[in-house]
Amino acid sequence: MKEPTIKLLCLFCLLLLPVRTLAGEVKLSVAASLKDVVNELADGFAKKHPDVRFQKNYGASGALAKQIENGAPSDVFISANLEWMSYLKNKKLMDAPSIGTFTYNTLVFIGSSGKKVSGMNDLFKLHSIAVGSPKSVPAGAYAMEAIKRAGKDKELENKLVMARDARDCLTYAERGEVDGAFVYRTDALQAKKATVLFTVSQGLYPPVIYPMALTVTGAKNSDAASFYRFLQSAEAKVVLSKYGFALK
């Protein structure tokens, strides 16, 4: 290799080195289902701290966890389930003492208001019911758990339509492709045509917890730490309840 080529190559490699975090930047990795509420929270925080900038990364909890595991820069991780949080905790990538609960959600059943369905016992009347694919969608896993605990799994076996995510469940129910769908209350609030037919009894499924934590690098970023405290504040709780999240 000629010398100028080597020099160019070195320069190129230098360009690839990670840039040091700019002062006042907070990098968020947040479950996609929390996009709207976290956007509003971040805007609220930025109003009081104009020097802080956010880099928001929304996606499936699993994808985000894999990104963090593979070295993607991130200060705060908010997951849609406990599984991926403990996965990263076990890899020593999370600041363990900071792990806490961001918020809770509840499961509801939606459908067109014409349907006479007021509880799990009425579901047999329907032809098709959408749930998130239980392996990849937390809301779907909770719904399947509720169906099983209510003893309806045999009865509904051939009626279930597994969807890619909660948003698709909502679309199917809105368009009438299915007779009803299990979704979170927060998603049901977005529905225009479908209405909440009943709330699934909390006794039928484990509490839906969104855990949050600072990453090991995030714990060293003072802006990230102060945003993290803001997420636990009373002010944040007001925003959360506005979006339909449960506070306990």
């Binding site: 499936a60 699993g62 966890a65 599984e83 991926w84 996965y87 098709s128 959408a130 694919s133 392996k135 990849s136 969608v137 279930l160 339509v161 597994m162 969807a163 890619r164 698709d168 679309t171 368009r175 009438g176 492709e177």
Partner: protein, 227 residues
């Protein structure tokens, strides 16, 4: 080590079934469109070309969503089918339609390349000898563009095996019913405990694709030698 569950075998079977059906269903249309675009001379040809190639550039999710709007219970085609008692959405047939739409441009393109490589004099000769257009099609054009047709079919098959975005919207992700290999991998990749299962299915996926592409190469070589 391969670790496959019974729903994984279902997914493998279903993937092959869907890909084969998508290929078979779209082949006649593919030949027809390729013929029109190669030999046809009509107004709006450019427009037809754009429409045929559109799925190549559109995100598959868009195609899936449009198909849902079209074939859904309240869609204009779906409501007609519904009245006739035919339901496509959330069945394996919807997966076939999704795959066929996404792979169609690849099929047409390959067949077209085959047809364009035919010596025009051969076609004209057949016409002067009294062949009608469909005689020419069956006895001259189709045999001479066979390598293009084979290439299109294998591309279509391979593309259908990998179809994810459109399929998951119109067919859902129902194990044993509409869950193809990519959909099953998507499910597995979403949980930290099922990495092995995801990797096993990835291996199967690679193996099938290699077999398809390899057999196409072999077949194409044989075809070339015959000529």
């Amino acid at each position: 080590m391969l670790a496959l569950t019974s729903t994984d075998y279902d997914a493998i079977r279903l993937s092959i079934k869907v890909a084969a059906a998508a290929m078979a269903v779209s082949l006649p249309f593919g030949v027809a469109f390729a013929y029109l675009l190669t030999f046809g001379d009509f107004k709006g040809k450019v427009l037809l070309e754009v429409v045929v190639n559109l799925p190549l550039t559109l995100p598959p999710v868009v195609i899936g969503y449009l198909l849902l709007l079209l074939l859904g219970k309240n869609g204009w085609l779906g409501s007609l089918l519904d009245a006739a008692g035919i339901r496509l959405i959330f069945t394996w047939k919807a997966a076939v339609i999704a795959s066929a739409c996404v792979g169609f441009p690849l099929l047409v393109r390959s067949i077209r390349i085959g047809m364009e490589s035919i010596d025009m004099q051969l076609i004209q000769a057949s016409r002067t000898l009294g062949a009608t257009w469909h005689d020419t099609l069956v006895t001259v054009i189709l045999p001479l563009s066979l390598h293009g047709i084979i290439a299109g079919m294998s591309l279509m098959f391979a593309r259908s095996l990998g179809e994810f975005g459109a399929t998951i919207i119109v067919a859902g992700n129902i194990p044993g019913v509409t869950q193809t290999i990519p959909l099953a991998i998507y499910d597995y990749a979403s949980s930290p405990t099922s990495e092995d299962l995801a990797l096993s299915l990835c291996a199967v996926s690679i193996a099938i694709s290699v077999v398809v592409l390899f057999s196409h190469e072999v077949f194409d070589k044989k075809l070339a030698r015959r000529r």
